[in-house]
Amino acid sequence: MTAGFIFAQFLTGLSSASSLFLVASGLSLIFGVTRIVNFAHGSFYMLGAYLAYHLIEWLPTGILPFWGSVICAALIVGVVGVIVEVVILRRIYHAPELFQLVATFGIVLVMQDAIFALFGGEDKFGSRAPGLNGVVRIFDEPIPQYDLALIALGPVVLISVWLLLNKTRWGTLVRAATQDRDMVAALGVNQAWLFTSVFFLGSALAGLGGAVQVPRESINLLMDLSIIAEAFVVVVIGGMGSIVGAFLAAVLIGELNAFGILIMPQITIVLAFLVMAVVLIVRPWGLLGKPDAIQHAGDQIDMPLREASLPGKLVGLLVIAALVAVPYVLDDFGIVLATDIIIFALFAASLHFLMGNSGMVSFGHAAYFALGAYASALVFRHLGGSMELALLIGPIAAVVGALVFGWFCVRLSGVYLAMLTLAAAQIIWSITYSWGDVTGGDDGMLGIWPSEWARSKPVFYYLTLVLCGGGVLILRKITHAPFGYVLRGGRDSSVRTESIGIHLLRHRHFGFAVAGLFAGIAGSIYVFSKGSIFPDEAAIPRSIDGLVMVLLGGVHTLAGPLVGAGVFRLLEDWISRLDFWRAILGTIIIVLVVVAPQGIAGFFHTLAIRFGLAKGRESL
């Protein structure tokens, strides 16, 4: 490696940092003011790229049409952002983080299908930027002119946004709203417009970030989630709400990628997440972030949790009886679906245990599901094809993973904790995805079938019912045990990182491991029910599935995960046969969050309380 080559690599890092910074700065700005962690931000980036690509193709070639298209694309994305804000997000500013997150993920799904419908599904390759299609020789290394232009663009945008924020009345209002929204309103400022304008700018920046990538990268429908994970990392490392921090972090990540790719191409994303974990441990609010002064308005106090009453227990027995009867009343197809539902009920219950009991919202619970699944598959493949051994080792691997990641995560709270859990899941995902020799990479691992005795559908169903249904029951027992009370106590007494005592920290860590264990059990069974495993099981959408199930069922209802998993799987099964099922699912999620935030089970439970059939929060 010559010095010239290293410098060239350094410049490549800087140029990719620019686009990343554009996206991250928008995300950070929006979070700073609205406190919404916007998953859909990646979709705005993707939309920007598609729009710019088509505008450039459509207009005559030339410098002016090229940059005109880029700017138009950014502005259109800004307008789309405004529509999203006004129609959806404005209604959920006061909802708990989980609801906001899930709603923005609903937007991701809708946007994926909308972009697919508008622009088609094939990858697109943009032409070089007119006027910047040559290379410059620096230290004898060829550097694309366009990269140099991007390197300049980053600081230009940074300075413009900084000036806008620090030297205009609008910027002063925005910064004031970041610190104390209500006070800004009490001084006569219409926050709604302020928020909308911030959304416009933030979305337009994401669109710009996507648009300038057109000459550099292929445009495809996976851009949204791949950039959002990276943008989250940048924003968290930089400090949520800090534009300068986002710039520093983008450069850091850009360089890490540029040089990481030389050393170990597969692990650059892992490196990025490791850096994030280290930064968060040293500086819990990122490089330039500030402690979160505003307590979240959305967290409601819930009713005390009670043991099930007699009617509740009867209903519980009926449910168990119905579950036992499944193989006698349903055909094979129905049994497979029921198996699936029970597996996901345990997955959702373990996530619910984490969130509902200890107030730790995890954006990456799929990590432990996938850990259990992959460990089982590997044991099965390499240790003589024993399902029994695999079912034992899988959950152990998940617990170990949960103990390791949990050690970092439980020290944080709120959004930062959620981000770190997401990072952990992305690490697992990228290992399963990139370590092809061991995990099969994208092709997954196939042929993981149950032992002879458990191969018939009904027997496997009962095995699932015993392990996963039993898991749900054990989780409920733990919830009612003193340990569960300690966790809830910690959750309710406004969890601040500094104030978490060692005692509570240990409980949270243990709680995290318990949640990981049961997710791992679900994952282990899952491999054998499908006979295969793919990296998708660790990816963001799987984690969100879990959140949606919990949400569908109602965060504050113990029966929630069961109902949620059932409804979600049936829904998925039904709509995944339709065209545009993503858009349909996304719309359902959004409507649910906006209209019935207490979830389906919670909704019926409220009804039951009203009609005197239940008291307080029971564990049906």
Partner: protein, 233 residues
């Protein structure tokens, strides 16, 4: 100028204000007295619109503002100075004032930072400091100055004397009297009866979110039983 008619309000399901009625006339300084937890701050927040009114009516300058969002009430000419001195901690004094700036609502010339620095000389030399770097007294002055930048016709002042050194309290009383002389209408909440006596024309004494006494300050002084029961004097 301001009228509350049988107002009920509170936080979520907790009802704090209970059939509260009161009137503030133009050009007057009215004191809202009551013990800690009596509902003074809740009244202020309800009037400005930070808390929703569950029943009853609030009118301001003849306009029914019961359902108005906070910023709309403020734009009508109502200023609010919260009790916990909510300056914007990362904004400088100048920037804090800028956030409060609103166009004038009547023929009177609008407040400028220069005039406000005359009224609060301490703030002048601190104008480039951030809100969090100010002392408690300076923060209190800044919140009042910031509200004045909105050229309000009525100011809700929530416990302006709370936690301030005696010297600063006197300065604060002087300022309020100056404002009153300039024609400002003020509703101020207090636990400090001495301070209220210095500045107020009229008083309401509240307890558990309901009015227990209303009248002039002199009338209040002639009712030791009211003072003893509701103010622990």
């Amino acid at each position: 100028m301001l009228e509350l008619n049988s107002v009920n309000a509170g936080y979520g399901k907790a009802r704090i204000l209970n059939q509260l009625s009161l009137t503030v006339e133009r050009g007057k300084v009215v004191a809202l007295l009551g013990r800690n937890g009596a509902g003074k701050s809740t009244t202020m927040k309800t009037v400005i619109g930070l808390l929703p009114v569950t029943s009853g009516q609030v009118t301001f300058q003849g306009e029914d503002i019961t359902r108005y969002p906070c910023h709309r009430t403020a734009q009508l000419g109502m200023g609010y100075v919260p009790e916990d001195r909510r300056v914007f901690p990362d904004l400088t004094v100048d920037e804090n004032l800028e956030v409060g700036r609103q166009p004038p609502r009547d023929a009177r010339p609008p407040w400028t930072p220069a005039q406000l620095f005359e009224l609060f000389p301490n703030l002048l030399e601190r104008r480039h400091n951030q809100g969090k770097q100010l002392s408690g007294g300076e923060q209190q002055m800044l919140t009042i100055a910031r509200t004045l930048m909105g050229n309000p016709q009525l100011i809700l002042l929530d416990e302006p004397s709370e936690g301030l050194a005696p010297r600063i309290v006197e300065q604060m009383a002087d300022t309020i009297i100056k404002l009153k002389e300039s024609g400002m209408t003020i509703l101020l909440s207090e636990q400090n009866l001495h301070f209220a006596r210095l500045v107020a024309d009229q008083a309401y004494v509240i307890e558990k979110g309901s009015v227990r006494f209303s009248g002039s300050i002199t009338e209040l002084d002639s009712k030791p039983e009211v003072l003893a029961t509701y103010l622990a004097v």
